[in-house]
Amino acid sequence: MFELVFPPAFIMILGALLVAMARPALRPVLALAAPLVTLYAVWQVPDGIQLTVEFLGRELQLVEGGPLRRLFATVFSVMAFGGALFALRQARWQEMSAAMAYAAGAIGVSFAGDLIVMFLFWEFMALFSTVVVWCGGTEGARRAGIRYAIVHLVGGIVLKIGIEGLMIHTGSVEIRALELGGFDTWMVFIGILVNAAAPPIGAWLADAYPESSPTGGVFLSAFTTKTAVLALILLFPGTELLVWIGLWMVFHGIIYALLENDMRRILSYSIINQVGFMLVGVGIGTEMALNGSAAHAFTHIIYKALLFMSAGAVLYQTGRRRCSDLGGLYQSMPFTTVCGIIGALSISAFPLTSGFVSKSLTVAGAAGGQLQVVYYLLVAASAGVFLHAGIKYPWFVFFQKDSGLRPADPPLNMRLAMGLFAVLCIAIGVFPGILYGLLPYPVDYVPYTGEHVLSQLQLLLFAGLAFFLMLPLMQRTLTVTLDFDWIWRVALFRVAVGALAAGEAAAASWARAREAAGAWMGTRVALLFGAGGVFSRSWAIGTTALWLALLLSLYVLTHYL
């Protein structure tokens, strides 16, 4: 029997270190083996607290098992494997190693038994995901990486303040459902929402991810936002505010994705949209809805990675990222096209794909809570997902006009990774039992009923009709659409530049004023004390005596008055 020697996350970290140090020939083997060994270790962790360590006089719970934690750690391990396979021969070793460390952070958060351990792995993720963004290698990636790091470090500080507050005021850093109220819990809540890409701060996602390398985007799409979803399920289940934040994200993602021209920015906005669905589920907080959020996170990681792989394959083969430069690629990249379409159908919750069996749980959760408005908004949003990710993405990248580009399908390892994830999307869709068996609560739900399939088909196909009828309105333009990141990229920048300029101007005018005052003083002094000045002249004795008499009589006068 395998004894739990150290946490699964440490296996992954070891893998990341080995990849960084190994000979180039060994790297691919290590990069593929580490996630598989980690996956094995994940499944050896029994429920409950498994491992504690002494740190700064506190006992930290490094590993705590449980069905929900196992679910997330499993999909993170699978994702690390698929991502490594996709990046095997194309990514630089720095990126591969950083991506593995990043995955290790996500797995560490999944098993964190208390808030301190969670925080440590949280920051670990922030660190190495920034490296992955930087591995994009362009000036744009460098700048986006700096912005990304700032947002996440600030978010981390906010989270840390909250955790320390809880530690002082309650004496406990245990991971348990918290009541939103009071400064500490709000700080923890906001710190987590930064990583969940909730607006307004969530604009970091669509800013940073599209700047990564073709392979880096695949890793980035998976971990940060989904660990935040896990943290919210563990810490804030049933917090009603999450329903409204989630709905905002759902529609924010759709609208911005509709306006986007950059293919991976479309997919990035689509992450915000999907995480919105998960947040709604957490906010509803029933067992059905929490199951829905967890299941959705699981399937989403796989199909979103698949979508990012197909976009990465296009980017790798053509070097182009704008929809307006792409199109017609189905002719020479049939395999990538098919995989992209499978990902697109899955995200749209088309029957027989993984999205259908997972998203339905959240939507049914809304109905079960008798939240009629929320329910209809989610249904409308489901149609919107088909619109922006289900059709728009594949249409503008692989079909629409003929761009004249005839790139081949990408190298074998990339095709294998896409094939693997495409198969997983279909397999989960056809055999939902695989996924339902992993969920934290027992599932009492049958996704494949005649009426459910039928109404979903009506919804999606007529959304498709709307897309093609309104195609003239959707022509891609060479534009970006301002999001909340405008506030810190432009407005705050202008304020800072303005403040600096005002400061300089004030300093300059102060210096001028001092100089002028100095010069004036100089001339006065010269006038009064200089040669021929009033105070340096010699006076006649008579005049002096007269002045003295005058002053003395004034003195006498004032004395008696």
Partner: protein, 84 residues
């Protein structure tokens, strides 16, 4: 060189016809499979079809309006939104 079969105009017309036939079919199927849904309105004939269609029209139009306000040239931020 002959264009790919998907790009030929006559095939595009055929695809449209097939698509419309499928649309009609999924609505007509509601006679055979009664839809109850979770709330009353969902039982109406063709509700999901109409709802999906109108929701999408609404979202596209809203996006279009928002675009008028918030769209900028794609070198707006001036740090290489271009090709790698």
């Amino acid at each position: 060189m002959k264009p790919h079969w998907l790009s030929r105009p006559e095939n595009v017309r055929r695809l449209w016809r097939a698509f419309i036939a499928v649309l009609a079919l999924v609505v007509a199927a509601q006679f055979a499979v009664p839809v109850h849904g979770y709330f009353a309105a969902e039982g109406w004939f063709g509700f999901a079809a109409l709802f999906g269609f109108l929701a999408c029209v609404g979202m596209v139009l809203f996006a279009k309006l928002l675009g008028l306000l918030l769209k900028r040239r794609d070198d707006y931020y001036g740090d290489g939104g271009g090709d790698v």
